[in-house]
């Protein structure tokens, strides 16, 4: 699609704006990557090309900080949360989209409305309750707490998708002898697979990235996640080992970015359909 009738002024503005934004985004990250490979003695020079490339910080992150354990915790926290969100949101969203019952809309908006509710205040009672019932410092406690932000938007996206499917699908399936449940399980669920994958993806990343809840609900002895470990190493009060910290940020930050890039097309397609 080439359109060369755009005026030179428009072209200059377009390219200029694009270059400005890209520089704004990329320059900091390039410097972070450079820093992660700098030897310790060069950290005070704001140079872009280190004298020699050093992997010391990378080795230290795994051998001294045992960072792979925190990454693993983030992985488990995110995956469990995503699975649970699907179990709650898929059946609910299906009913909200395709069945008639009293108070359907108010009920739905009581859940989805929390999207703009500052949910972090719920961390206060949940911490106290989790301590009381033994969920504090456990994965199950994290998974449940993460639902507070995972379920509302999952429900929103899924309901939109289910509602957009042709009207008489279930009835057609039932003509062929399916029960109500089989119509959902055999017809609707396979059709919704792409959007379920999208929701899993978003819920996983949210769990992987979470800090506020994980920081409150776990301790150093429990399932502390990578985000919390990063925060802990900046807030300890002692001198921050910047190379090591930058390696940690890359290890924690790059996987979601790669996932996003891979999923971009798929996400755009499923959200266009809702």
């Amino acid at each position: 699609m080439t359109d060369d009738r755009s005026s030179p002024g428009q072209k200059a503005l377009g390219h200029g704006g694009l270059a400005l934004v890209l520089a704004l985004v990329l320059i900091p990250y390039v410097y972070v990557i450079v820093t992660a490979f700098k030897p310790a003695e060069e950290i005070y020079d704001a140079t872009w090309l280190p004298q020699r490339i050093s992997f010391d910080a990378w080795i230290e992150v795994f051998e001294v900080n045992r960072f792979h354990l925190y990454l693993w915790n983030s992985l488990v926290a995110g995956a469990g949360s995503a699975a649970l969100a699907i179990l709650i949101a898929v059946p609910g969203a299906y009913i909200f989209a395709r069945k008639e019952f009293r108070f359907r809309e108010p009920f739905f908006y009581m859940i989805v409305g929390t999207l703009i509710f500052p949910f972090i205040l719920l961390i206060v009672p949940i911490t106290i309750t989790w301590i009381r019932i033994g969920l504090f410092d456990t994965f199950i406690g994290l998974w449940l707490a993460f639902q507070i932000f995972a379920v509302p938007y999952s429900m929103w996206i899924l309901r939109g998708y289910f509602a957009g499917l042709p009207k008489n699908l279930e009835e057609a399936a039932m003509v062929y002898g399916c029960t109500q449940f089989q119509a959902f399980y055999r017809v609707m669920l396979p059709l919704a697979k792409p959007v379920i994958v999208s929701v899993l993806f978003l819920a996983f990343l949210q769990g992987w990235s979470d800090f506020l809840f994980s920081n409150m609900l776990t301790t150093g002895d429990g399932p502390r996640t990578a985000s919390v470990a990063i925060y802990a190493s900046t807030a300890g009060g002692e001198r921050v080992d910047w190379q090591v910290l930058m390696v940690m940020t890359l290890l924690t930050g790059v996987p979601p970015v790669v996932l996003y890039m891979l999923a971009q097309k798929h996400l755009a397609k499923t959200f266009a359909a809702t």
């Binding site: 985004v25 059946p91 500052p118 972090i120």
Partner: protein
């Protein structure tokens, strides 16, 4: 034809949702309100205070610090909108190539965990060895390193800028998809009538994305006030209470002082303030939609 089978399906399928809503949203919320009427330590026995937490907070010296910090921090929404508009308009131009690549790069900061971004900026803005300080001094813009996160005047603006840097791609993605829905022929028509670049923006582009802008402003206002990972990483709410945006203050009371009753009290103010900031935009949006 409401058969009993269908009724059972509805009940069964709504059960997890209902449990979620009652046990993870409403019960904690009500419990929190109850807690806010007590002195409620992390461990130990709560003591009934009535409305004392509320009156104490309203009368506290840091109350206005927190309100001011919250208002400044909410300006982040505006900065995000500015960058998002520039980026989306640039990517909408037909002559720009490699669009998918640029879009992918642009969402990097949004895809990263907020704490990661916070740690990165903690490093870049470090007064001793940060890149920003280094270049500002090299170009003679500043003479002394500035302790961005320790100085009253700077700290609240720095956290606002860093939050803007992180979260603008959310607005960008939604505005871009609104822009892409505008048919190219409308621009061509405007051009035939002799509209220049700015006029085309005002007459064609702006009306078509006005609703999208209102929606993202509403969502981001709410999200920004609750997404406090980076400011918390960068300043912890300090110096003093200068950067204690209400949600940070709440988190400070819970996480640092273990005063859970006061924490939820502050949380209630956050709810009210979020609603107050959103309301005008929600009203505008209602009017827009009503007119269409």
């Amino acid at each position: 034809m409401k058969r009993s089978e269908e009724r059972w399906l509805i009940i069964l399928f709504l059960a997890p949702t209902t449990l979620f809503m009652l046990l993870l949203l409403w019960a904690p919320f009500l419990q929190g309100m109850w807690m806010s009427l007590h002195r409620w330590p992390f461990m130990g026995e709560p003591v009934w205070l009535g409305l004392r937490n509320y009156t104490d907070f309203l009368g506290a010296a840091y109350f206005w610090d927190a309100i001011e910090a919250t208002l400044i921090y909410s300006l982040s929404t505006l900065f995000q909108l500015a960058v998002a508009l520039v980026a989306a308009l640039a990517l909408r131009q037909p002559f720009v190539r490699f669009k998918a690549l640029w879009r992918g790069i642009m969402i990097i900061s949004y895809a990263m965990p907020p704490v990661v971004v916070g740690a990165i900026w903690l490093f870049l803005l470090d007064p001793g060895l940060g890149m920003i300080t280094h270049y500002l001094m090299a170009f003679g813009i500043i003479e002394q390193p500035i302790y961005w996160f320790a100085e009253n005047t700077w700290a609240k603006w720095m956290i606002t800028l860093v939050a803007s840097w992180t979260f603008w791609p959310f607005m960008f993605l939604i505005i871009l998809s609104a822009l892409q829905a505008i048919p190219q022929s409308r621009y061509e028509l405007a051009e035939i009538y002799g509209a220049n670049l700015w006029q085309r923006f005002v007459v064609v582009t702006l009306p078509a994305i006005r609703n999208a802008i209102l929606v993202v402003v509403i969502l981001r206002l709410a999200f920004n006030l609750a997404k406090i990972e980076q400011p918390f990483t960068l300043t912890g709410g300090g110096p003093g209470y200068e950067t204690s945006v209400l949600s940070i203050l709440m988190y400070r009371f819970a996480f640092m002082s273990g005063d859970f009753g006061m924490a939820f009290t502050v949380g209630m103010f956050l709810v009210v303030m979020t609603a107050a900031l959103i309301l005008p935009f929600a009203w505008l949006f209602q009017r827009q939609v009503g007119r269409a």
